[in-house]
């Protein structure tokens, strides 16, 4: 059986280039999703998503029930926000955010001893809903891409006219090292996941649903297969384990051998791509007409005493999580998200937001050794060229970035096709922070475009 699965691994779909960082998922992969007590206070940024910030519906001092909407969407590319716990609104003020700047946030003081039942929502028949109604219902849940991009999910459902969608791809790759939230979700909530897939398929008019899972999680493939019907329109397929398999363009290539053209979205080739956590939430929330109030977060790394996968109310400050789970001194890095694309945080008051699937607590030497960090000039080795999944030339881009030739980078070397996966920086033997160069270059180009 194992030999057979090894053999079939050779024929699993994949994309060109990419890297194989140590996955470090053993810390938490076998730990079922657990609940933690409520934090005394929740911090709910009004902008946890790409698009316009939500507009608060509550005043200071107002009581709210768990699941109650506390902010509404401001326009189409925006989502509402729901109270993750019953309590009282303490304040609406600026608080630190994961990205750095202070953002306007609702501070919710949780009632201690409250049973915290969700009183909101009523069962609806999703079978009877039209695609338009589903899109609206998805917006009402406040769902954003839970894989990390935090792009409002309903916007993806509203495909421009003339772009028929044939397949909905569900992204269960979780290619970021350390993170295991999607893995646990697929094992424990396979039914919600498949239900969500069917809802998404109907919303987009797709004939087929395809769930892609990296082949280091074959138990998840099995778990999903067990809840499918014979001759189901939804199917599940393993793809090769390789970073960044979870990028939508890579996944489409691996599963269907389709290349999404540069600068285009999946709908241009008849696809819709959604993360498994997002899809499972749709399967869970939509039939109950509820909003997103919690998410699974992998808290892991050598700096945490009890690593695991936890169901965490949105807005829980990192400080509370770390106090609950035991925090070792000497920690140097707190990373929100995965180690490849996540960012370090400056304040322990930063809350867990909708897009945050992981909290890594790492020590200096567990990340990189001194030798690995030593900076050298670029030696033209071409390792970055061999790693870039977008088949760009990070070597030349890096050289141009050094000379601040940002315009040439964009025009001749396709800077804007870089989605900042970090593969080039990972392999660079000269320890050049290529991805950071590219981020700087892109923002410089954006500023210049805005100025002219």
């Amino acid at each position: 059986m194992t030999t057979l699965s090894h053999l079939s691994g050779l024929f699993r779909g994949t994309f060109r280039h990419g890297i194989h960082p140590p996955d470090n998922k053993h810390f938490t992969a076998s730990r079922p999703i657990e609940r933690l007590p409520f934090s005394r206070e929740l911090v709910l940024p009004l902008s946890q998503h790409a698009g316009k910030p939500s507009v608060p519906l509550v005043r200071k001092g107002q009581e709210v029930a768990r699941g109650e909407p506390i902010a509404k969407a401001d326009g189409f590319v925006s989502v509402p926000l729901h109270a993750p716990a019953s309590g009282v609104i303490k304040d609406i003020r600026l608080m630190p955010s994961a990205r750095g700047p202070m953002v306007e946030s609702v501070i919710l003081e949780v009632y201690p001893g409250d049973p915290q039942d969700i009183l909101y929502g009523a069962e609806v028949d999703t079978e009877a809903m039209s695609p338009k109604e589903i899109t609206q219902a998805v917006q009402d849940t406040g769902l954003v891409g839970l894989g990390g991009a935090a792009f409002p999910t309903h916007v993806k459902l509203a495909v421009p006219e003339g772009n028929p969608i044939h397949t909905v791809l569900i992204n269960g790759c979780e290619c970021e090292p350390f993170l295991t939230t999607d893995h646990r979700l697929m094992l424990e909530q396979a039914e919600d996941l498949v239900k969500g897939t069917r809802i998404l398929m109907r919303a987009m008019g797709a004939e087929r649903g395809l769930i892609g899972v990296e082949d280091n999680k074959l138990d998840a493939v099995e778990a999903i297969r067990n809840v499918l019907e014979p001759n189901d329109t939804v199917s599940v397929k393993a793809v090769q384990t390789k970073y960044p398999q979870g990028a939508e363009k890579m996944l489409a290539k691996s599963l269907l051998n389709v290349e999404i053209p540069p600068g285009k979205l999946p709908f241009s080739v008849g696809l819709g791509v959604f993360n498994v956590a997002t899809t499972a939430q749709i399967g869970q929330l939509l039939p109950m007409n509820r909003g997103v109030i919690e998410r699974v977060v992998t808290v892991t790394g050598p700096g945490v005493e009890r690593p695991g996968n936890y169901m965490v109310p949105i807005g829980t400050p990192i400080r509370f999580l770390l106090e609950c789970l035991g925090f070792e001194g000497g920690t140097r890095h707190l990373i929100m998200g995965g180690p490849m694309m996540g960012g370090t945080v400056s304040s322990l008051d930063t809350p867990i937001t909708k897009g945050c699937g992981g909290l890594l607590v790492l020590n200096e030497h567990q990340l990189t050794t001194e030798e690995q960090m030593r900076r050298y000039p670029c030696i033209n080795c071409g390792a970055c060229v061999e790693a870039c999944p977008m088949l760009l030339n990070p070597c030349e881009l890096g050289r141009l970035a050094n000379k601040a030739r940002y315009d040439v980078m964009a025009e001749r070397y396709h800077l804007n096709d870089c989605f900042e996966c970090g593969s080039c920086s990972y392999v660079c033997p000269a320890a050049i922070p290529l991805v950071q160069y590219f981020r700087v270059a892109k923002s410089a180009n954006r500023e210049r475009a805005a100025a002219s």
């Binding site: 994309f15 363009k249 694309m341 304040s347 890594l360 990340l367 050298y376 080795c381 000269a430």
Partner: protein, 353 residues
């Protein structure tokens, strides 16, 4: 607690390779070649390799000190250049000339361009090209290998006094005294070129014939190259392109006139082609990074080598072929930009905006 937290940008993980690790492993791969060279040519080769390495490292250190910056010798790249300079000179090459060649290779070939990562040409070959122009006689003076007293006495030309040419009369008398059958003072390549005599290919492969200090054993060079390619410290496509194209191009000539031209196998195992293909054409700094560029670069070097060997005034062409390849690298990089994921085969029009 929060005071100890450090802010960094992603990715927070880093692969296992670093520049000094790559360079160190290239040195490891070169060591068997050096050892064989000493076994074959004795203490003269040892002195030559040691001196050229020390001079290269010393020159780099000195220049860093003069520029008031941290020394860069600990990245091991100067050691590679030093070893290579020693290995591509004839074993009896006067030491003072080797000092000059080694100094030129690092100073002019590398540091004048800006040091590691900025040199356009392979530094060792810059040194060798300088020696070729400046010291025409000693660089074509070959010594028989496996001489009886090679571990006891130096080749007479080795300790030529600085700024003097070696005493060739004395050298010829010394060679005659060795009484080695059939030694004509010519390398297999020269014999091929001028007398159309082809040396035994197995001997060439194992490396028991006259040659530069470290170019004789194609076998050990190939072994080092395989190790580096396996550990991914070397791009296998470059030696594959060089050797493959040299094989094909020389094969075409051989088929046309087998009496005049050498067999393709002879081309591969003779002279400096193997060392050049494995250890010098693959120098990362001076070779292209794009997939198509890498193949074109290898093919260019392999074909030019054969053309120089067969039609040029020199019997050896690897050095100039690689230098030419180095010079073409920026152009090759520029012309062979990879096709972006999902882009159509034809260049995109939107670039014009």
């Amino acid at each position: 607690m929060s005071g100890a937290v450090q802010l960094k940008t992603s990715p927070h993980l880093r692969g296992m390779h670093s520049v000094d690790k790559i360079m160190r492993h290239v040195v490891y791969a070169l060591l068997p070649v050096c050892v064989f060279s000493v076994l074959q040519f004795g203490i003269s080769a040892l002195a030559l390799i040691l001196v050229s390495t020390l001079v290269c490292v010393g020159t780099e250190h000195l220049f860093c000190r003069l520029q008031h910056r941290d020394t860069t010798v600990n990245d091991w790249s100067a050691v590679i250049t030093g070893l290579l300079v020693g290995l591509i000179l004839p074993p009896g090459f006067p030491i003072w000339m080797a000092v000059v060649a080694a100094f030129v290779s690092i100073a002019i070939g590398k540091l004048f361009f800006g040091g590691l990562g900025f040199n356009v040409f392979n530094p060792a070959l810059v040194g060798r090209a300088f020696a070729q122009a400046a010291f025409t006689v000693p660089i074509t003076t070959w010594t028989p290998g496996m001489a009886h007293r090679r571990f006891l006495e130096f080749i007479p030309t080795t300790w030529t006094l600085p700024f003097l040419q070696p005493d060739m009369e004395h050298f010829r008398a010394w060679v005659a005294k060795l009484e080695i059958d059939g030694f004509t003072g010519a390398t297999p390549l020269a014999m091929m070129k001028f007398e159309h005599l082809e040396a035994d290919k197995l001997e060439l492969f194992l490396g028991t014939l006259a040659s530069s200090a470290g170019e004789s054993s194609a076998f050990l060079i190939l072994l080092g190259g395989l190790y580096l390619a396996w550990r991914r410290f070397l791009d296998w496509r470059i030696p594959a392109g060089v050797l493959g194209s040299a094989f094909v191009v020389s094969g075409i000539f051989y088929l046309q006139n087998p009496d005049l031209y050498p067999t393709p196998v002879f081309t591969l195992v003779s002279g400096g082609l193997m060392l050049g293909a494995v250890f010098m054409a693959t120098d990362m700094v001076s070779s292209p990074v794009t997939p198509a560029g890498i193949w074109l670069y290898g093919i260019l070097i392999g074909s030019v080598t054969v053309v120089i060997r067969l039609f040029g005034g020199l019997n050896e062409g690897v050095m100039y072929a690689i230098l030419l390849g180095n010079a073409a690298t920026p152009l090759l990089n520029n012309l062979t930009q990879p096709r972006t994921f999902g882009a159509s085969r034809r260049p995109r029009k939107e670039n014009a905006t």
